[in-house]
Amino acid sequence: MENADTASYVDFYHAEGKHKGILSWLLTTDHKRIGLMYMCSMMTFMLIGMTLGVLMKIEMLTPGKTIVSAQTYNAMFTLHGLIMIFLFIIPGLPAIFGNFMLPLQIGARDVAFPRLNLLSWYFYMTGGIFAILSLFLRGGPIDTGWTFYIPYSIRTGTDVILPLLAAFILGFSSIITGINFVTTIHRMRAPGMGFFKMPLFVWSLYATAWIQIIATPIIGITIILVIIERLFQMGIFDPALGGDPLLFQHLFWIYSHPAVYIMILPAMGAVSEIIPTFAKRTIFGYKAIAYSSLAIAFIGYFVWAHHMFTSGISETSRFIFSLLTFLVAIPSGVKVFNWVATLYKGSITPGVPLLFVMLFVFLFSIGGLTGLVLGSLATNAHLHDTYFVVAHFHYVMFGGTVMIFFGALHYWFPKMFGKMYNEKIAKWTIPVIFVGFNMLYFTMFILGYEGMPRRYWDYLPKYQTLHVISTVGSWILVTGIIIMLVNLINGLRKGPKAPMNPWGGKTLEWTVPSPPPVYNFEEIPVITHGPYYYGGEEEK
């Protein structure tokens, strides 16, 4: 096997196809190329979003105006939120690593619908371009916050329709990817790979795909209704016309809460890949982890109103949604315990991806546990819509998903590009990111507890010290991220050639050369063991 590396084969970058040059990318149906196109576009958006974030923090250095006006600040957090949510973290890991790795991990030559897969990238790009265009047309940059709450989104003079259309189109991209993945997982697994022999990343993509298929149409419909309301004053949501603004909030969160699980589940899946590989042992509680993905996906549908505890909904609803919110925390907790247990009696190499996982476990646990503080009705009424929430969701989405995005990047980098990066430098970026991240966001928990609301351009002078610490943290954090990215780019340009299986992983992507050939497998493998089989007895 090992010498398959040197055996002659043409990797997918160099293979002759129908098209040459840039067209060989833009017209490709190869899941690997599509994954990489997603990667380039999403990382561009991520960098734009981070730049906005840092500028926002600079504005927060002093009360009142520091660098931008209130209107600009409002547009900035709206744009930052829209980009980070709809263009970066919802397509997130599935679009990049799902596309690239799913067929490889289940022993398939491509996804079930390769052309649809390309179409979903075009939908994604169209949505992104609409979002950017909206900044320069008519009313100027949207200032509603990424939640588009009514009636403000109907009253504001800024352009709301184009960004809404952008989100609508992005929704289609998401639905198509979901359908593609569900079909692929059902139909194209290698012989012998029953559902309980699938890698856990595949399980998480499966659970995510179902949420994408079932939940996304709801935001689509909601968006259309808002556009109709804005254009024709129908009276669906606007109380001045007999509509109900809470109806909007319900519809919005019926999608957007499950969307939180679209963001986090694939990251959890990637964690379940990385830990066994670096601990050289089978995962602890495979079934518990697989089922907990499904449980999260399912219960996740029934907690949306925890975003509306203070909106005047009945006390009964508050009671029920608070209870369910506490229950949805359990399967996430189960996963964390199982991951830690997988390290027990392993034979551990602390490689870069594993260090990112450790960073993730710490930050994501803080995010999850502070979710309990927000889920409790008494404390929610104090902390809702304050900086506590801003801290909470950055710990979950940034500390959780984005850290694993970075970890997965370092884990699959050799497979995707056939090159290695400098591991020493990569290791050193982690403490920098850790310090910067906690300075930036932990201070926000305190600000929130002290009563500073979110989406505030100006603040009372008593909050300044914490804001200054937080802003300095943002500089440290982005320094770490920039070093990390430059190190990867250097690896790409002049790194040493990566072997087929640099980490000693057991899943199928490590059995093909790096980078893989166009159709992945010379011969479709036959599966006899679980995905993390390092010898020994196997649970039946």
Partner: protein, 222 residues
């Protein structure tokens, strides 16, 4: 850490303390175990991994314990919160009217004010309405907020206790000057309150909006 502006605020802080302490314990268990395992079972010290694929007893244990814990958190939070939803008999009623970007308070003797005056020791029902978009009426020191939603009347119950002046802010994004939608709550003795209630309307205010946009400038603009 405890906030004694009101009895209720103190209880909210107790709930918070309970959840935070349990969380810190859980976080420490997870983090310490993780770091310990990575060091203790390092490749050099433990060249051969044990293939342990699960342990049902352990799984049941770490599902059951957290479930009990979170149910307790849930109930504690709900029980305290419930108090803030019950309107006691004889509560003073004050209408709170939000609009971009200021608050107005209407008392039932017809008096209007830009700053909220409340007597200490008497339960108050605040009836929340808005003239335009959604806002959220938030008194951080009292640990309570409730959205002011267009087209409906929401309410909130408070029982002011400690005399003093507190911030009132808007917590639901409402456009351009959301962050300046600020005013003061003055908790005064019952006598002072009755005296104040008898004076004529006091539509002057020192809130942050006025700092940026003094009334004169605002009038000149419109």
């Amino acid at each position: 850490m405890f906030n004694d502006a009101t009895n209720y605020a103190q209880q909210v802080d107790e709930v918070m303390l309970f959840i935070v302490i349990s969380s810190v314990i859980l976080l420490l268990i997870v983090t310490v175990a993780m770091i310990y395992f990575v060091i203790r079972y390092n490749k050099k010290r433990n060249p051969v991994a044990s293939q342990i694929s699960g342990n049902t007893k352990l799984e049941v244990f770490w599902i059951a314990i957290p479930t009990v814990l979170v149910l307790f958190m849930f109930y504690f939070g709900y029980a305290i919160f419930h108090e803030s939803r019950v309107v006691p008999k004889g509560a003073l009623i004050v209408k709170v009217v939000g609009r971009m970007w200021e608050w107005k308070f209407e008392y039932n003797n017809g008096k209007d004010s830009k700053e909220l005056y409340l007597p200490s020791g008497k339960p108050v029902k605040l009836e929340l309405t808005t003239l335009d978009v959604n806002h959220s009426f938030y008194i951080p020191a009292f640990r309570i907020k409730e959205d002011v939603v267009a087209g409906r009347e929401n309410y909130m119950v408070v029982l002011p206790q400690k005399l003093g002046t507190y911030d009132i802010v808007c917590a639901q994004y409402c456009g351009f000057h959301h962050s300046l939608m600020h005013t003061y709550l003055h908790v005064v003795s019952n006598d002072d309150f009755m005296k104040w209630l008898g004076t004529k309307d006091s539509l002057e205010s020192n809130n942050r909006f006025q700092e940026y946009y003094p009334v004169k400038k605002l009038l000149a603009k419109n």
